[in-house]
Subunit: 340 residues, 2 copies
DNA sequence: CGTAATCGCTAAATCATTTTAGTTTAAAAT
DNA sequence: ATTTTAAACTAAAATGATTTAGCGATTACG
C-alpha cells in the first residue's frame, strides 16, 4: 500500500528542512527568501510523488478549515437550494467547502447547529436565521467570525445582510391586484415572527389600508404536513366566499393554495385571482400561469458569497473592520395570467 | 475573552492525568478501569465549564472527521435535494455532517471533488456517479472507504447500491401509453451514458418493439440552458407531426417539454399525451396533471444512509466484510390526466 | 576594521488530542 | 514472607503540519 507521505518524508528525501518545504508549499518562498533552485527542486519532487499536505494536521495547527457553514430554512425548497447551489459553486472556486443543514426554522435546532459548526471550526457562516437567534449570532460576530445573514434579518443584530425589500415588493404586488379591480383580497401567510414574513404582511397591509379595503388574513403554522396546509386553505376559502383574490406569502403556500383551488373547483382568475411570492417553474407553466414576486436568486447568492469571501480574506489581518453591509436587491413583479 | 479550554486545563485543574480525562470523555472509563468517583468528578467539571474537545485535534490524531461526502448531479434538482435533505437529517442524528457538491455530471469535476474529499478525510461517500468514474470509485473502495452509489450504477464497480429498476419502470409506463391506444410514441432523453438513462431507454425500446411500433427518439445534450432544451424539443415536435404521445426521460426534460408544448399551443392529451419520470408538484398541479413514474425518494434516502452508517459503524473492526448490497426499490406509475 | 544587515536556511516549539506502555499501591495467592 | 495479580492511574510518544527564533556565512557600510 502507498502510505500517505508526510512533509517529513519530503524533507528527508531532499535533505532539506521541513521548514523550507513548508514555506515553499505555502507560497512563502519569496517572503522567506528561499532560493529559486530549492523551490524548484521541492516543487518538482512534490509533484512527482503527488504529495498532498494533510489538511487535518494543517487545520489543527492553524485553526483554519476552509469550511463555510450554510444554514437555510429548508434545503429542499427551490428558493434555498438554488441559492445553495450557487453559493457552493462560488465557494468551491475559492477553495472553500460547504457544510450545510436545514434549520426547519427551529430555533433550538439552529442553536445546536451553530454549536456543532463552531466545534468543527467552521470559518464563516451564511445563515437564513429563524427567530430567537439574536444572541447566538451576536456571539459569533463578537467572536470575529464572518457571518452573512440573508432572506430575513434579526432585530438587534448588526451584520452583513443580503435581502430584498419584502414590504415594498408585496405592496406593489397587492397594488397591482387592486388596480386590476380586485376588492376583497385575502392574504395567506405563516404564523411566523421572521422579519421577511412580517414585512410581507406589512406590504399587504399598507396597500389594503391605502385603498381602504377589507383585510382577510389566514395564518398557517409552519410545522404542518402539506396536506394539512391544503385543508386549512380550503377551509379559509370556503368561509370567505367574498374573496376575489388571494395572495400567498411564500411559494409553497401558493402550491398548497393551488391544490386547494383545484379541489374546490374554482376557476382562476375568473372566480379568484392568485398571486405568489418567489417564482417556480410551476407558476410559469400552470394554467393559468401565476403572477408572482420574483427574487433575484442569482444576485442574492452572488452578493452573499462575495460578502463572506471578502470577510474571510481580510480576516483579522487589518484592524480596520469594514462596516457591515446591508444589501437590498430589487425584486420583479412577474405579471402572468392568474391576475388578468 | 474566554480562551478555549483544552483537555490539559481540565486535567490540571482536577489534578488528574490527561489520559484519564481523555478515557473518561471517550466512554472508556469502564474498559480502562477508571474509578466511578473520578469519572463523576471529571464529568461534573467538564459539564460545569462547558468544555468541548477540539475536533480538529481529535480528527488529526484519529483521522476521524465524522464527515460524509455527498455528490449528486445537481443539488437544485428536486429529486436530489429531497434525497439530500433526508440524508442530511439522518446523518446529523448519527453524529455525522454532510459535505456536499453538485457534480453537474462532469467527470473531471467529480474526480477532482473526490480528491478534495479525500484530502479532507471524509469518512464515507454517497455518490450519484457520472460516467467515467469507475477507477476512482474502485480506488475508494479498495482503500476501504465506505461508498454507497445511488440512482445510477457503474459497470465494473462492485459497491453498495440503491436504485430502481429503470428499464422495467419505463417499460410499464410506455406500455400504459400503448394500451391507451397511442401508436406513435416519442422519447426525449439525454445523450448520456449513465446507466439509469440507458435503462430508461431500454424500457421504452422494449415496449415499442414488443408492440412493433415505430420509435421516435430525441437525444438532448446535458449541458444546455433550459431555453435551448425547450427550443430543441419544439423543433423535434414540429418535425414529428405524427406523434400522439411523448415520454420524457427526466423530470426537467418534461418541464422543458411542457414549456415547448405551451408555446406550440398543443392540447394535452388531445393532441399529444405526455409521460414523465420522477414526480414533481408541478406534475400534480399542471392542467392536465401529468402521468409519471415516481421514485420512492424517502425509501431511497433511508436505504442509502442506512447502508452507509452500517459500513461506518462496522468499519475495519471485524475482518468479515459484509458483501455489497444491491437494493432495488419499486417505483409507482402515477396515472394522471395527461395520458387519458 | 568593526559592526550591521542580508541571505538562505534550520532546529525546535507548538497545536489538543489519543493511545501505548508503563508505574504505583494494595490486596490476594502461594 | 514473598510473589502475583489487579485496580487505578500516568508519562510520554505520536499525529503532521506551521511558525518563531535564530545561526553561520557573506556582504555592505561608516
Amino acid at each position: 500500500m502507498k502510505k500517505k507521505l508526510s512533509i517529513i518524508d519530503i524533507a528527508k528525501h531532499l535533505n532539506v528542512s521541513i521548514t523550507a518545504v513548508s514555506f515553499i508549499l505555502n507560497g512563502k518562498a519569496k517572503e522567506k527568501r528561499i532560493s529559486d533552485e530549492l523551490v524548484e527542486r521541492v516543487l518538482k519532487f512534490v509533484d512527482e510523488v503527488g504529495y498532498k499536505p494533510n489538511l487535518l494536521a494543517r487545520g489543527f495547527r492553524t485553526g483554519k478549515t476552509n469550511i463555510i457553514g450554510l444554514l437555510v430554512e429548508d434545503i429542499s425548497n427551490p428558493f434555498f437550494c438554488s441559492i445553495a447551489k450557487n453559493i457552493e459553486e462560488a465557494a468551491y472556486r475559492n477553495g472553500y467547502k460547504i457544510l450545510y443543514s436545514s434549520t426547519d426554522n427551529d430555533t433550538e435546532k439552529t442553536k445546536e447547529l451553530i454549536r456543532v459548526y463552531r466545534d468543527r471550526c467552521v470559518e464563516g457562516y451564511i445563515i437564513a436565521p429563524p427567530p430567537g437567534l439574536e444572541d447566538d449570532i451576536n456571539d459569533l460576530i463578537k467572536s470575529d467570525f464572518p457571518v452573512v445573514l440573508f432572506d430575513r434579518s434579526l432585530e438587534g443584530v448588526k451584520s452583513d445582510y443580503v435581502g430584498i425589500d419584502s414590504a415594498k415588493s408585496m405592496y406593489e404586488g397587492v397594488k397591482h391586484l387592486i388596480e386590476k379591480g380586485h376588492k376583497n383580497i385575502g392574504f395567506v401567510t405563516l404564523d411566523s415572527l421572521q422579519s421577511q414574513m412580517q414585512d410581507r404582511f406589512l406590504g399587504y397591509d399598507r396597500a389594503i389600508q391605502e385603498y381602504k379595503l377589507p383585510e382577510f388574513i389566514k395564518e398557517i403554522s409552519f410545522h404542518q404536513s402539506p396536506e394539512n396546509i391544503v385543508k386549512q386553505i380550503i377551509y379559509f376559502l370556503q368561509r370567505k366566499k367574498e374573496l376575489d383574490a388571494v395572495v400567498f406569502a411564500t411559494n409553497y403556500l401558493a402550491v398548497s393554495g393551488l391544490k386547494a383551488i383545484t379541489e374546490l373547483g374554482l376557476s382562476v382568475p375568473k372566480d379568484l385571482a392568485i398571486m405568489a411570492f418567489d417564482d417556480l417553474d410551476l407558476f410559469e407553466l400552470y394554467a393559468p400561469s401565476i403572477t408572482t414576486v420574483s427574487q433575484p436568486v442569482k444576485r442574492i447568492s452572488e452578493e452573499v458569497i462575495s460578502l463572506l469571501l471578502d470577510r474571510l480574506n481580510n480576516a483579522s489581518g487589518g484592524k480596520k473592520k469594514k462596516p457591515f453591509q446591508n444589501i437590498v436587491l430589487e425584486t420583479s413583479l412577474i405579471i402572468r395570467n392568474s391576475t388578468k
